[in-house]
Symmetry: none
Subunit: 223 residues, 4 copies
DNA sequence: GATGAATGAGGCTTCATTCAT
DNA sequence: TATGAATGAAGCCTCATTCAT
C-alpha cells in the first residue's frame, strides 16, 4: 500500500523529535554522556524507551544529533551576524557579540559545547562525529579568513591567522566559562567590549617595555 | 611480630605506584574516564587487577591521583619559575614559558588537564576533587595577585585582575591545544613570545579605531 | 503517550514476581544468603540476570521480600487462628496448631525463618529488616497478651508473661526443627498435643520433689 | 637434620594459636562467617596474613577450629557438671545451670553457637564439620540417656526421650537468647530455677482442664 | 507506531590464597 | 618462620538495545 505519512503525522513526528532533543540536551548537559541513560531521557521526555530508539537509532546517535543541532544553530547565527558587517572590525565585534549572546541563551548547551567541542576536538578517540567537527572548523575558517583579510588591510599584526582566530575564539570562551560560575556579569554588550579590547590591544598600557626579553620593544608604530 | 616494611619493599612500592600512575595517565588521557577500564590499566601495567586496587582504592581514586600528581608538579614548577623574576613583566614571561615547557613535555597529561582543569568546575562527567581544584585556584590567585600588582604599577590596564589572569591562562592553553594537533611549532621560546605579545598588546596594529563602537578611541598614547 | 500497563501485563508481572520469590526462597533456604548468587536465582527462575534486578532492586531487597512475604503469611495465619477461639486454652492450642501446620507446608521457608527470625536480633550475618522484626514482635506481643490474660484467669503460673510467650514459641520451633530432620512424625494434631502438654504441664510426673533445691515443693494440688 | 621444635618454640606456637583463635572468635561472632575477612583477623591479631595461614590452613578451617574449641569446652563443662550429681533431678539442674553459666561467660561465642550450632544443624549445606556436629550430638545423647533413665524411674512422663532432651536444651537457649538482649536478669541461679520449673511442671497451674480438646484430661495422677 | 519487559555483556570491586623474600 | 605483595576468580549491578504485543 505504501501510504505516505500524512502531514499531521509528519508534523507530530517533528515535534516529538524536537521535544526529545531538548530533553536529551538538558540531561546530557547536566550529567555528561556516560552518566546519562536512555531511561532517564525516556522518563523525562515521557516516552517509552523503545520510542526513543525509534526516533534515534542509538544513544550515540541521539547525542550527536543533540550537539549537531545546536552547533548548527550556533554556527549559522554567528556567521550570519558576521556577514552583517562589511568591515573587518565590525565582523570581529559581531562575532564576539553573537557568540556571547548565543551562549547566554543556551547555558545548558554551553556545558556540552565546552566539554565536547571546545576541549576534546583534540582527543582522537572522542565522541564527536567528523561531520560536526567539520561544521565547527568551517566557522573557525571563516574567522581565519576574516583575520587574514584584516591582516592584509594592516589591521592585525602579521601573525599566523589561524592562531589569531583560535585566540579570539578562546577569549570568548573565557567569558562563557564564567557565565557558568556564579559571578554577576555586566550586560553582554559590556562583556563584549572587554573581549574586544583584550583581543585587539591586549592587557598592557602602552608605555612599558618588557624586561627580560629586550628584543621586542615595540614602539607605538606611527606609520 | 609484624615487622615493618623493609627499605627495599618501600622502594619497590613507590616504583610500582609511579609505574601504574604513568600507565593510567596515558590511558585516561587517550580514552577518558569512563572508557578506561581498570582491566585495561592492569593489563598495560602488567599487574593483576587486584594489585591495582591494593595501591589505589578505586578507579576514581586512581584517576584523582593521576591528575593530582601532575597538577602538583605543574603548579610547583610554574609558581617556582614566576618567583624567579622580581619584575611583573618577568613574571608574566616566566609564567608563560614555564607552562608551555611543562605541557610540551607532558602531552598526555595535557589532555587530562584540558578536560578536567581547564574546562571549569561544572561538569558532572568531570570529577575533579575539591583538593585539586583548590591547588589550581591557588595558582590562578598567584597570577591574579601578580596582575593586580602590575596594574598598580601602571603596567596593565585597569581591568578586573581575575579576568586578566584567566585570559592569560587561557591564552597559554590555546597554544597548548595546538601542541596536540599536528601543526609544527617553533621553539617554545618563539611560541612564548607570541603569547606574550598577544596578551600584552593584542592582535591589532596601533592605528585603528573600531567601527561599530566608537566609544573606545584609544589614542596611541603620545608619551 | 505513555500508555499505562495493560491488565495482562500487570498480571504477568505479578506471576513473575511470585515465581522469582519462590525460586529465591528455595535457594536462600538451601544455601543461605551469602552462598546464594543472583545468577543461580536467575538460572533457576529461567530469567536473565537483569530481569531479576528489574523486579527487585538488589540481592538484599530480594532476600527481604522473600522473608517478608512469608512471615506476613505466617503471622496472619497464626493470629487469625488464635482469634478463632474465645478461651485462652483454645488460643494456646490454636497457636500451636497453626504454627505447626504452616511450617509443615513451608519447609523451605522454615529454614530461613529459623535463621533469620528465630535466632534473635543479633547477628550481623543476618539481615532482617526492622519492618520484619516488627511484624514478628507483634505476633509475640499477641501471644504475650494472651498469656497475661490467662495468668489473670489463674490458668498460668504467675511468671513473666513475655518469657512464657517466648517459651511457647520456642517449643513449637523445637518441633519445627525436627520436621527438617529425617524423623517420621505423627499427625500434626498429635505433635500439637505433645507441645501443648509440655508447655502446660511440663515433662515431670507429679509426685517428685527436686533434690538439690528444696525450696520448690509443689504439692500435687489437693483440690 | 630434622631438629624438633624446642620447647620454647612449641610454647610460643601454642600461644599464637590461642591468640588467633580468640581474635577470630570475636570477629566471627560479631560479623558472621562471610563478612569476616582473613585480613581483619590478621590485623586485629597483629600477625601477617600469611602467618594466619601458616597456623590454620584456610578460613574455613580456622572457623571450624574456633567453634570446635569452644564447643569442646562447653560440652566438657556441661557433661562434667552433670556427672557431679547421682540423681536424675540433680543432673537436670546441673545441666541447666552449667549451660547458662557457660553462656553468661561467653557471650561472643553464644552468638556463634546460636547461629552455627543451634539453628543450622538442620541445614544440610552448612558450614559445620561433621566432627563438631558429632560432639554436640554426643552431649544431646547424654541428656537423652539421662532422661530415659528418669522416665524409667517414673520421674518423667513417658514421652520420646529425644524430644524431651531437645526441649530442655531449647529452653535453656530461650534464656541464653535474652542474655544477648538488653533485659536485666536475675542471678543465674534464679534464671535456672525458672527454666527448671518450666521444664518439669509447665506453665499451667494445676486445676485447669483444657477446653477445645476434651480427650486429654490428665488428672493429677496420684499413682 | 508505541510500549516496556527482557536480555546479557561488561564494569567495578572484594578477598581467599599463594609465594618469593 | 614470618611477611605482605600479588593474584584472579567470582560476585553484584547497570544499562544499551531488542522485540513481542
Amino acid at each position: 500500500m505504501l501510504k505516505l505519512l500524512t502531514p499531521r503525522r509528519k508534523r507530530e513526528r517533528q515535534q516529538h523529535i524536537r521535544h526529545i532533543l531538548d530533553v536529551a540536551e538538558s540531561i546530557f548537559a547536566e550529567q555528561g554522556f556516560f552518566r546519562t541513560t536512555m531511561r532517564k531521557i525516556a522518563l523525562k521526555a515521557e516516552f517509552a524507551l523503545g520510542t526513543i530508539y525509534s526516533y534515534f537509532g542509538s544513544k550515540r546517535q541521539l547525542y550527536e544529533r543533540v550537539i549537531e543541532t545546536k552547533v548548527d544553530e550556533l554556527v549559522d547565527f554567528v556567521t550570519g551576524e558576521m556577514a552583517g558587517s562589511p568591515s573587518v572590525q565590525g565582523q570581529v565585534e559581531n562575532f564576539i557579540r553573537a557568540k556571547m549572546l548565543f551562549f547566554r541563551k543556551n547555558l545548558a548547551f554551553l556545558r556540552l559545547y565546552l566539554v565536547e567541542v571546545d576541549v576534546p576536538r583534540l582527543n582522537a578517540e572522542h565522541i564527536l562525529p567528523q561531520k560536526l567537527r567539520d561544521k565547527y572548523d568551517s566557522m573557525l575558517r571563516t574567522l581565519t579568513d576574516m583575520i587574514r583579510q584584516g591582516t592584509r588591510q594592516g589591521i592585525f599584526k602579521p601573525m599566523d591567522a589561524e592562531i589569531l582566530a583560535r585566540t579570539l575564539d578562546s577569549l570568548t570562551n573565557v567569558f562563557a566559562f564564567s557565565y557558568l560560575g556564579s559571578k554577576t556579569h555586566l550586560s553582554t554588550e559590556a562583556d563584549m567590549r572587554i573581549v574586544t579590547e583584550l583581543f585587539l590591544h591586549g592587557a598592557a598600557t602602552r608605555q612599558e617595555p618588557t624586561q627580560n626579553s629586550n628584543d621586542r620593544k615595540e614602539p607605538c608604530n606611527e606609520s
